[in-house]
Symmetry: C2
Subunit: 478 residues, 2 copies
């Protein structure tokens, strides 16, 4: 079996958060730095997590009527320029092909940073009548955004994501699609990744380049910085006008379609590691863990091996993803360390002693606790245990978020929080972009969103004192 | 539901094969031309076929110990140059990024045409000991080869594929991996796509750029041209020496690893269409068809609708992929045409008349036949029917191949076959590259492979008359 086992030597999470993070992802075999600036290698562990995300989202997207497809990697430069704010937003980070097949290209080709412009060129051809609507296509692909400062999974020059693009006859339907996508993303974070999120609207300056409005899911990392975890855009008719995507309605009149786009990327894997990981390495929530339970027989006694195989089968019958580790080249201590580092939720060891007692000790990764369990009842016990672990991990993550969430009633208070623990801050803001820019300049905090559950109330902007209707969510962002 | 229904107007297959092919793939909604030269859009129908390929191959590759992963899209130009024949083979068709993040790059980045060089750079870091072997990684990704002449699916400037790359301690193990990969590919073609293939070794001039030997699967298209359908390469130590991928063996000595790479691409979809399609459009073998059975209720009678729903459920219980089409905006005739064009293997229509008789007529796409079947027994009947359809389609394809396969005992005979029906030709060849080149120049036929089942026999090269040990397989290639 090909496994690059490395020594632990993981920096403590409390000592240096970003060193800890890089240690965990590289030493666990999640990822490695590649020779290409800002691009990582997704090793089998992280790619298997990504496949779990695909398995979770694909049937749910299909139920929304979204179909998978694939569009070209390259976009003619002129296409990107058709929607003014779109090109403005993406132009600093484009990678550009100028030579192909040994010749200088007449028109440069941009490596897609996102696919609105190439997809909508085709939509304009395919959509003619109201009967062609809604059109809902998704792609699982790679995109390139040449970033100056990169950080594995969180911000990369190339990353993997899904990008769905829908076209609708009415703005009402379009907005409903944005909400449906947001709900799917919330489920993916909460039910698959055991990560709590705050859902809300982006400010006008923080929205997607080309959108009318952007709905965002924001997560809080244990170092007090926020992660914009995925977004769904109401594109209105901005792109349909630029790309002439129109249809004949039931009354025979021509109208521009209303569009959405929404994306969920491998950045989510970064959040997963940051929130759940500990000083021993990765801690994976059971539903996303490629291996949920590892079974390690101690020694080579044939009765022990047979029992381990039986446990393995009993768990697989319950649809649990198991690994039976019968390698003899590595010591028990080495294996324990390795599976802790890789974040396997549950570890079962069994030897002669366990055979005699009829009980095994089940080691639970996230709590470092052990539970004595009769071998016979493991099959019945494990699905519940895995569910409980998921719930415990979600609760723990929610507690981290709560502990790092504050309300600031004055700018002094706001600044003090930002200088100490950071985290999410609820504070009144006048919704003026200048004020927003100055808050960022002075405190590093940006508006993350106007949470959907924010209640309207009279208040004054923490910075300028002008009237404000809502407390917005602020944080320093990754 | 978003469906771009288009008029049929498909060219006859017998009249103009390539026009027919393009008509079928564009009008069925498989693919569309994009504004980027040589790049197509994989619309939902072809992408769903590709997902079926992934679903078929993934568990089988996993059983071989191959793990999925993802490596960067970009390869520094210098990496590609490390293996001399590799860069020579790929250099004419590279797409090159020269500008990124608004700046001219110091070292140009090539968009991967294949990933040997970037992957083996990492392998060199990861592999140290015999305990790290074998290392078997696969990627499902996009690659770019800037082709002068493109043809949808068959030859594109960008295409999708899987590329697996393995490293082994011995050449014996490495060669076994090549054979195992070949067997998997053969299964995929025969058992999933209902396409017969010929398996054999490439000649030295036709092998992969950088390989010691290449094993190929060759399919024959109904126009008498051969399609190189996928390949598995024995890379020997060519790349491991160039990229310094070495390991300490059990005796403590340093050795270079032995490597393989093998790939299966969306080109296979082109072969699928060409062999099985007919004048009515696509014909999909049941195991790869995204929709296996479409059920069309006639009219809006509630009893008819309820029966259609029951049939749908009964088939889904048998794990059959169904579609229940209750749209009222399109006529029955329109729907029939559409599903024929899209190649759905089985169509069931039912109305008042069928309800009364208790029988439905089951329309079978590939044979254009109809079978009267009791509604009650559809669930039991359908899995067998689908299996029979698969077998019939395979047999039909094999017959096409047999009818287009000849033996040439002289060069005159060889040339005459190439001028008339083309197809596969078994003929003696001296294994000299000059002779091979001249045969190509004079007849357009290239050596496709030395079939694994070719028996050693005394003969003389059809062109130069020198001694020959085997009949090789020749054909004009796509």
């Amino acid at each position: 079996m090909a496994q690059t086992f490395e020594k632990k030597g993981v920096t403590k999470k409390s000592e240096n958060f970003s060193d800890w993070y890089v240690d965990v992802i590289t030493k666990s075999g999640m990822a490695d730095y590649s020779p290409v600036k800002g691009c990582i290698v997704y090793r089998p562990l992280s790619y298997a997590i990504w496949e779990r995300v695909q398995d979770f989202m694909n049937p749910r997207m299909k139920a929304m009527g979204v179909q998978n497809s694939y569009f070209p990697l390259f976009i003619p430069e002129s296409f990107l320029k058709k929607e003014a704010s779109h090109i403005q937003g993406f132009s600093p980070e484009l990678a550009v092909v100028t030579i192909a097949g040994g010749e200088e290209l007449e028109e440069k080709l941009v490596v897609r940073p996102t696919s609105e412009t190439i997809m909508y060129t085709m939509y304009s051809k395919w959509i003619q009548s109201h009967r062609d609507l809604p059109l809902k296509l998704n792609q699982w692909n790679n995109v390139v955004r040449w970033e100056k400062r990169t950080f594995p999974f969180i911000r990369g020059s190339e990353f993997l994501w899904q990008e769905a693009h829908t076209a609708h006859a009415t703005h009402e339907e379009c907005w409903q699609q944005v909400l449906d996508a947001t709900e799917l993303y919330k489920q993916t974070y909460e039910e698959l990744m055991a990560l709590p999120v705050i859902v809300g609207m982006k400010s006008q300056s923080e929205k997607f380049a080309g959108a009318v409005n952007t709905v965002t899911l924001e997560s809080l990392m244990p170092d007090g910085k926020a992660l914009q975890s995925c977004t769904s855009h109401d594109l209105g008719q901005n792109f349909s006008k630029a790309f002439e995507v129109s249809f004949q309605n039931k009354e025979g009149q021509n109208e521009f379609v209303h569009q959405t786009s929404f994306g969920y990327s491998t950045r989510s894997i970064g959040g997963l590691v940051m929130v759940h990981g500990d000083d021993q390495g990765l801690v994976l929530p059971p539903r996303i863990a490629p291996t949920q339970v590892v079974i390690i027989p101690i020694g080579t006694d044939s009765e022990v091996l047979r029992t381990a195989e039986n446990i393995n089968l009993a768990l697989q019958e319950k649809m649990i993803r198991t690994k039976l580790d019968i390698h003899t080249e590595y010591s028990l201590g080495f294996k324990r360390n390795e599976y802790e580092l890789q974040g396997v939720p549950v570890r079962i060891e069994l030897g002669q002693k366990e055979l005699e007692s009829g009980n095994v000790s089940v080691a639970i990764r996230h709590s470092s606790q052990k539970e004595q369990t009769p071998i016979e009842s493991l099959g019945a016990y494990m699905p519940n245990l895995l569910n409980n672990i998921h719930n415990d991990m979600y609760d723990k993550a929610l507690k981290i978020q709560h502990n790092l969430t504050s309300v600031a009633n004055s700018y002094d208070e706001f600044k003090q929080i930002m200088e100490t623990k950071r985290g999410f801050i609820h504070a009144h803001w006048c919704e003026n972009a200048d004020c927003e820019a100055k808050i960022k300049e002075e405190t590093k905090a940006t508006t993350r969103c106007l949470p959907f559950d924010s209640v309207e109330e009279k208040g004054t902007c923490i910075r300028c004192g002008k009237d404000s209707k809502h407390k917005w969510l602020f944080a320093q962002a990754y």
